[in-house]
Symmetry: D2
Subunit: 357 residues, 4 copies
């Protein structure tokens, strides 16, 4: 499935080294002027080469909108964006078809598609597929902001080095904006420096590391979502796990709730003027699958980049023998920093889709 959404339907297409990748977005209201500068700015946060840790492949990654606009505004037809795949070196990949990379989709895609999968650059499994997701997310975020809903994330940890967390009962737009303005999206720059040093160190070791990302949705109206398969958690998860390398997700107190007493984990209600709030936010802004009006908070686990320069143990699918594998090319020692806007985009697409249900 390359599509998500009930009302805002986002279809993602392309492979890492096909002619282009892109997205079709259906269900946006007509008459919206897209702020292309902000869309590009958002997408640049995901693009490689922004910091010294990212792969040097130069991706212009600037989407061209080929449908859905008239006089510069949405016209009710689906928005289609195409991002050309320019700087591709496809010959680096052919041997991976038979000698699959550990931690990658090479082996499972080989079986699923009978060996006909596009092995170049990871094909449709590539992290590059998150670029159209960011395009769609940037548009959704613009629409959400017009409703007073803001979404922002930060690197909560890299290889066990932790950033501060959001204050669960009070996250502000200014705070989110300040983090987004940074090259390396953390709350504590000091911890950010430690993370960067760790990434540098690991890369020198021909290895890689993962981390966690915390995301907040603020300004969310109360009463969005529903029980069972209509809950916000399930809807967000479904979009978040579409992002390669995500291994887990938790909302509010999450896994730590499993070690708490009910009397601790329950969040007491109180009135803040006319508004019902909770004194703590272990529920992560969601009760019964429905938004409570408190910040929606979730954490996502990102695994270490599976492409590492070290020699690894693999097999040759043709000869059915063991084979040592050395992955050529240069690869990110850590993708957590690049995943931050992608997480935001996935959340934005889901939240906009759910409003008004």
């Amino acid at each position: 499935m390359y599509q998500t959404g009930e009302k805002i339907k986002v279809t993602v297409f392309g492979q890492s080294h096909s002619e282009a990748i892109g997205a079709v977005i259906e269900g946006l209201p007509a008459g919206i002027k897209l702020d292309m500068e902000r869309i590009y700015a958002f997408m640049r946060r995901r693009a490689p080469g922004r910091d010294k840790f990212s792969t040097p492949r130069k991706e212009a990654d600037l989407p061209e909108i080929i449908s859905g606009l008239a006089d510069g505004k949405t016209c009710g037809a689906p928005i289609t964006a195409v991002i050309k795949n320019g700087d591709t070196k496809s010959k680096d990949y052919e041997n991976l078809r038979l000698v699959p990379r550990p931690g990658h989709s090479d082996f499972t895609a080989f079986v699923k598609y009978g060996g006909c999968n596009d092995i170049r650059g990871g094909g449709q499994f590539s992290g590059r597929m998150t670029a159209p997701l960011c395009f769609a997310g940037a548009i959704c975020m613009q629409l959400l902001e017009e409703k007073g809903i803001y979404i922002g994330a930060h690197i909560e940890s890299v290889h066990g080095i932790h950033d501060e967390r959001f204050n669960p009962i009070n996250v502000t737009k200014d705070e989110l904006d300040a983090i987004k303005a940074k090259d390396f999206c953390v709350i504590s720059d000091k911890q950010g420096e430690a993370m960067k040093a760790e990434i540098d160190r690991v890369r020198g070791n021909l290895d890689s590391v993962g981390g966690t990302i915390e995301c907040a949705v603020i300004g969310m109206p109360t009463g969005v979502g529903g029980p069972l398969f209509g809950g916000i958690e399930g809807r967000i998860s479904s979009a978040i796990f579409a992002i390669p390398a995500v291994k887990g997700i938790e909302f509010g107190s999450g896994f730590s709730a499993s070690e708490m007493y009910g009397s601790e984990n329950n969040d007491s209600f109180y009135f803040d003027e006319d508004c019902v709030k909770t004194k703590t936010n272990n529920h992560g802004g969601i009760l019964g699958g429905i938004s409570s009006g408190m910040p929606i908070l979730f954490r996502t686990a990102i695994k270490p980049t599976p492409s590492i320069a070290r020699e690894q143990d693999s097999v040759n699918l043709k000869t059915k023998t063991s084979e040592k594998l050395v992955i050529s090319g240069r690869h990110d020692p850590c993708i957590v920093q690049r995943a931050v806007p992608v997480i935001e985009a996935a959340a934005a697409i889901t939240i906009l889709d759910m409003l008004g249900e």
Copy 2:
């Protein structure tokens, strides 16, 4: 959304104190003889009253099948099961409409439905809604077993007291069967006893605890799933978060992957006879959203039961003042043990739905 599935479509209906709850299951093959004894046995694992920790409300919870069968076999029409709601004391609940229980959906449902939500027993947000899910899951599990696919879960922890984990590279049907046969589904009975003691203790304190559940899917054919929104993780998550009280989910090494090196987290391939396997299973049986043939492993976090006997701080939605709340009735001090078959059911529904895509 009360429905899940692309090919096997499960629609859940009912509220805790409506006439009945139930499920409609579309997409099952014709000609299947349902093993009702096993379905009942499966559902009894979820039913309360099986151990001394569960609520004393006697739920027969035995589904009556009112459509979909001819001559005792599936006939291609949807299977509909109805479970009567017998022993209900609805008057216990009316005050909760205005004084919402912390940690419950009372407040958010009030807002979403303009105060018209069914407050009795939690309405459609009740844990009781998982009974029809178990019914559907039991059927799906029967069909999966005919294909050699087995699903089983165990209580991985209660309030920080941990069971052993599955051996990630080798989980057997016998092992899963042995756990299912237990009243308290753990691998280590010793740890199970410690958990039970803890639940007993906490209940004496008028409090509650949560825990974690580990689930395994074995015998899974390689090549099921897909990238992006078609990945197994997203599909399973979407069903798991339909279960009340779930706060997080992780696959394979999950959150701990965020603290590992790529060289540690990557699972090396090798040939076991003609079959490609991995030496470790940090990937949890899923690569690129597609099954690798290794056991699919995931862990779920369950929060402490929000209904506790202690006095709690809430508000009166009408008077807009603070109000102390004491929840009457008796409630489970821990629901982790009852959630085990529900997790299995949600996994079974999803996996059967995904086969052959």
Copy 3:
């Protein structure tokens, strides 16, 4: 597929002789008081035995609502209605499994379900499955009426004997109400009498006849629907063809448009006070898949009841030889009159689903 709808999702279940048939309706707003008397009245229009032409099987056909209500009002959970299948004589049908009735689904269902289909009373292919559709339609119609949208149909012809047509540019609620109040839903009672005489005559000949039904949707707001797969015509058709025996559908001038000039078929616009109207209504209230504000008009063709008392040529699927078939039991010589409310119901479900998209 037993389900239709994007926002208002109607799932139909059951077989003619299963324990029960019914429907689950998701997506209705909370707080609606269902007018059960009107729902029953609507369903009685479809029920057999209302006139002397219908089958004598007594169907109480009164739905029991087992979920979705609290305090007599919708509570946001799906409405589930169950209609018991009481008076069934299943033994009449067994021979049809091997000797399929011409014009029925017996043969195709045999192939599709490998002989495991429910042959009793036509199983899930029975006209009886339209009873839950009427239940759902009656609810949708109530909600539509609160928005000023009315739907009504009449028998436009039986075996070539034609009723008058609606005035395409002006159909009134009173007119629709007057037709609904009749036992035999026609505009011209004289033509209705001729139709009834024809049905009587044909029944004496152990034969059957079909006809056409014209349906109008009035009070429709302008601007509902969309191009391509979102057009009103495609959405309505999809629901209408769910009704057994429907062979064709046309909107506005329909097939006769194929014999007109563009200058004839185009409907000129004019202002009626502040409201844009068309002088004629060949477009049937839909332009570009979107409602124009003029009455939506469509005609549906209903085939003659395939169950006739005459001996017919069939085959024995087991012996692979020709076999004469005489269908036992009594069957409607014409079902057009009973299909009228079913057409209305299918339209109501679709239109309510499309509002606000």
Copy 4:
């Protein structure tokens, strides 16, 4: 809704004068070599300028495939085709925003999109949107042919001048191929000449005409489809009404069934060797929504092109007064001949989607 399909999902995007139009096709098997020459040949049948009756706008209309292929074969990722919109004269259209063309979507789109719809060339309502549909259909047809399923249509009438009909019990691939090879797709060339003369005449009168198209699906396996919303008729209709200008559809004996006796309309079964067939084919190859193995036959009504050169009565939406409208530019006096492959494409997409359900 710009998407159709359950397993083969086709998303259409673009407007007549946007940068490009196109389609994303998900769900095709991997490893298929697309026969681009045949795809282009199929699309040329729809393209204007093939005969002297079509609009002179030169549409290269050749799709560029920008994703979904690797080594020239499908790789499991969605196929995306982009068709550039080259020769567009957008200034011809601006006045239509306020003075809507009778019979067009100008007025309804204005209301739906608050005046922000793309008025140029009809925007997303343009007949040009059927080009990507043809692209998708051509691919689906290639896959169907590998399964021995063939689809072909012909102009059954233009302005009341009728072609012969298919022999309902025996349509051959050779016959379909012979029709497709013609510039003007009819069975009887003599009748085709009469139709062309009529179109010529009408165009001289600054008017337009419509017609009907008959389509056959042969080689269809028995047992595909289902009751209720899963019937072939409903699924095909839903796709056919996505085509602009379609006003009606009927299957098999269709509307004429409403004038037949049951004893006439019922098709007797017989064994042709081991194969069950019917002596007549009033059921149009579909019983109970399921394919019977006989040719699937349906007829579609196409209205006269609404764009005519004559002066017409319209309104000015701004000044709220009557206004005479003369549509500039040149327009097809008949689009029936161009709609033939579009009908085939819509059928192919639907049938491929339904196989194996």
